[in-house]
Symmetry: C2
Subunit: 482 residues, 2 copies
């Protein structure tokens, strides 16, 4: 355990608390859980299993070593060493206040006590507390281990230093702290969810649409838009060159139209509950909740990875976090360089249930990028109109690789002179066995002329030195006659 | 022009009408546009340019040959030969009714007249029409060329045959017809959008959040959920094993909480419009609308392709449409088989602005899948625990390939005997020049034992026959000594 390892206390370990536990653990924090529910350990184990499958797929590098997980019998035991205390207890104010009272009797005065509440404002949960300045709202979204949003709501009681520290910690977990400017019932996102939920209840009650039809109306239409741009940027585009003012002027009159029943709340009669539940069974009953969770998580991972490719929306958050957690490869000594250390994401696998053959090429292409970056041929160098292009690759497939499997790549320079760079990569399983090998010939090119040319002198010098160091490593048998 | 080619008339060519024009054209329909706006042609050209870039990226096969596009001076000229007439005129009832009157004087009695309206119910637009039975609502979502949802709303005036035909045509365009069970103001999806929009206006007016903060609250949280599962399936999961009834019971009390201001409508004062517009400028003003459109479309393509990989949500719609438009390869004669004919999607390209080297491997892997399917080694065969695994590939990269570029692959069998299948693929640009070549060795395996074995006799017979036919094709020079 490293000296700067931090500890989170999780008070209440349901779906939300379990998701928080996973976020902290997989980002290298030690976690102490308190939950009086006899089922808590089983529930958290299930959430953790999902998180360990999905979260590492989002990064091209390994997450920090997982922290330790402890279940505590008491709140006092859970909170005493904690840097961050996350309360996800049931939404009853008296209960939450009691939790804070016990917590503050035993926790450090500089610990952050954050509530997952959407039902209460921070001033409400700070009321009656010994040290209200220590308590804020940090409201996450399910699944907490995949969705980045956390609404941070503070009051004047909270010193700005403390709120800044809280947002910094949220960022260090790969999440996005949204500082809410003023406290308001339900913060921001849940107000939208509540509005849509109420409207949906009316549509079902009026037999205008079933649960499945409503879900289709969302996921085949505006849901796709909102995964990347939200409401206003989407409408800005719809407004076109005429601009946002024009768009609102045009759309304004609709506000007077009777397009929503939201001024009124449908009564949740047994009959309405039964309608919704049986429609939902018809829609999704063929799958267990665990299957649905897995489908949801794989879809979220796929969408997030797709956004990451273009550094867009939530994908940009992933890139920022990845840059933070990536360790520079070790190039000391005459050893192959460990260029990759990661796992196989869901979108790399095919119908055989194993990694698609084209992704071996991606593994070696990504490994070559790491070698290039080491040589100084990085994004900045490419902006200066120079790069390496692969002209030839030979891949041998020796073992199958499965979704989620951890692997590493060892890369060495076989030839590095003038325009030429020849690399040899070994893709290795956790047990050290070889999954695949790749010999790759790259040529340095000018991006202006699209023709081969020598690299800049400082790149060439580094390349020659690396080639000389690697020349002492014995060749693999299948390359000895080449 | 083939005999069964169909014609769509587009009445009103703004963003929505232009999107419809693109959907029809790129799916092989001829299109006649009527729009009195002097800018109509310029606007539609811009939408078409976006659609031609983005839509073909969604399929692993070429779309049908594009139809012809004609601009007509009159409604009568546009509608006279049309099978489908799509009205996207401004949301003024008197204007729409006038359009239908002129349309029905000149169009075929069996043509479908569909309105893009969200502001009016079908009974309202059918009122005063000569043949109300011909008119329905088909309400799409922007960008129409990428989002699949179309709300189909009919009345008792519409014969069921006609409504069925309309939904069939919508499906043939790769879209999803959502049959709305009863007419209601704003149909389904816009009721949700309107509810969220009203809530957002209150949050901005109250200085709780800016446009950017609201967009972040959506796209980093529930927006990601809604791109794949919608509202009810998401909540079903949140309810966990306890089920939907339990979840609603738990969530029910919130309905009594004052979490929305929707009972009331904020006044759109100049001050509020100015707040929104200037916040939106601060958020997105660094990009032109064209840049934002391109970013949006690339993100949507990426999200849709990611869902397609797992046959999930809107991705399943794409797979269904792709199966419909895929032409079986021609295997007559001793010629290499054209195994692929498609373009390069956005998620295949890297920071150099050209196709990532690993995707050449995917191209050849996809081409091998087509050969395997031809031999009978298809998904059904794999379910019977047999498959081919690639054990070795050698790729030569001869030319760069760019986003959106059309290419084809010619594949031939070099060796086909017993467990062994050796393929040679040539990836070709539109001008016939070679982009890359791949020699690929596949071995037939039992998926039970994970060991090499001979294929089923009927597969082997087809393989040997194909190998014999291809043996007469001269070898490429670089393979002559192998």
């Amino acid at each position: 355990m490293s000296a700067d390892r931090k500890t989170a206390a999780i008070i209440g370990g349901g779906v939300i608390g379990g998701g928080w536990a996973a976020r902290f653990l997989l980002n290298g924090w030690d976690v102490c859980v308190f939950d009086p529910d006899a089922q808590a350990q089983r529930k958290i184990t299930a959430v953790l299993e999902n998180a360990r499958y999905a979260l590492p797929m989002l990064y091209n590098t390994a997450l920090p070593d997982e922290g330790s997980l402890t279940y505590c019998e008491t709140i006092s035991g859970a909170v005493q060493n904690a840097d961050w205390i996350q309360e996800s207890a049931p939404e009853r104010l008296a209960l939450k206040r009691k939790v804070y009272q016990t917590t503050q009797e035993h926790c450090r005065a500089d610990a952050i006590i954050a509530s997952s509440t959407s039902g209460f404002k921070p001033s409400e949960i700070q009321g009656c507390a010994t040290r209200p300045e220590q308590i804020i709202v940090a409201h996450p979204f399910n699944p907490v281990y995949l969705l980045p949003l956390v609404e941070i709501v503070a009051t004047d009681e909270n010193p700005p230093e403390m709120t800044d520290r809280a947002t910094g910690i949220i960022e260090s977990l790969g999440m996005f702290p949204l500082r809410v400017r003023a406290e308001i019932d339900a913060h921001i996102a849940d107000r939208f969810l509540e509005a849509v939920w109420r409207e949906a209840l009316w549509l079902i009650k009026g037999e205008i649409a079933t649960t499945e039809e409503i879900d289709n109306a969302i996921r085949y239409g505006f849901g796709l838009r909102w995964a990347q741009m939200g409401l206003f940027e989407t409408y800005r585009i719809a407004g076109g060159e005429a601009g946002m003012r024009h768009f609102i002027d045009q759309f304004g009159p609709c506000l007077q139209w009777p397009w929503t029943k939201l001024m009124d709340v449908p009564e949740l009669t047994d009959e309405l509950v039964e309608m919704i539940a049986s429609q939902s069974d018809a829609q999704s009953g063929a799958h267990t909740i665990r299957q649905l969770e897995r489908m949801r998580d794989e879809n979220l991972v796929g969408i997030l990875l797709s956004l990451k490719t273009r550094d867009a929306a939530a994908g940009a958050l992933l890139n920022t976090h990845e840059a933070r957690i990536t360790q520079p490869p070790d190039t000391s000594g005459a050893e192959p360089i460990t260029t990759l250390n990661r796992n196989v994401p869901i979108d790399w696998t095919d119908y055989n249930g194993h990694m698609n053959e084209s992704r071996y090429g991606q593994v070696f292409s990504d490994a070559a990028d790491v070698v290039m970056a080491l040589l100084g041929a990085d994004a900045e160098y490419i902006k200066g109109d120079n790069s390496y292009f692969t002209v030839d690759i030979h891949i041998r497939f020796l073992q199958e690789t499965r979704t989620g499997q951890r692997f590493s790549v060892h890369s060495r320079v076989l030839l590095g002179e003038g325009k030429k760079l020849r690399l040899y990569h070994k893709m290795l399983a956790d047990d050290g066995s070889v999954i695949a090998t790749g010999e790759q010939m790259l040529i340095h090119v000018s991006l202006k002329t699209r023709r081969a040319c020598e690299p800049q002198p400082e790149i060439l010098a580094k390349l020659e030195s690396l080639a000389a160091a690697h020349a002492t490593i014995p060749l693999p048998d299948h390359l000895k006659d080449t």
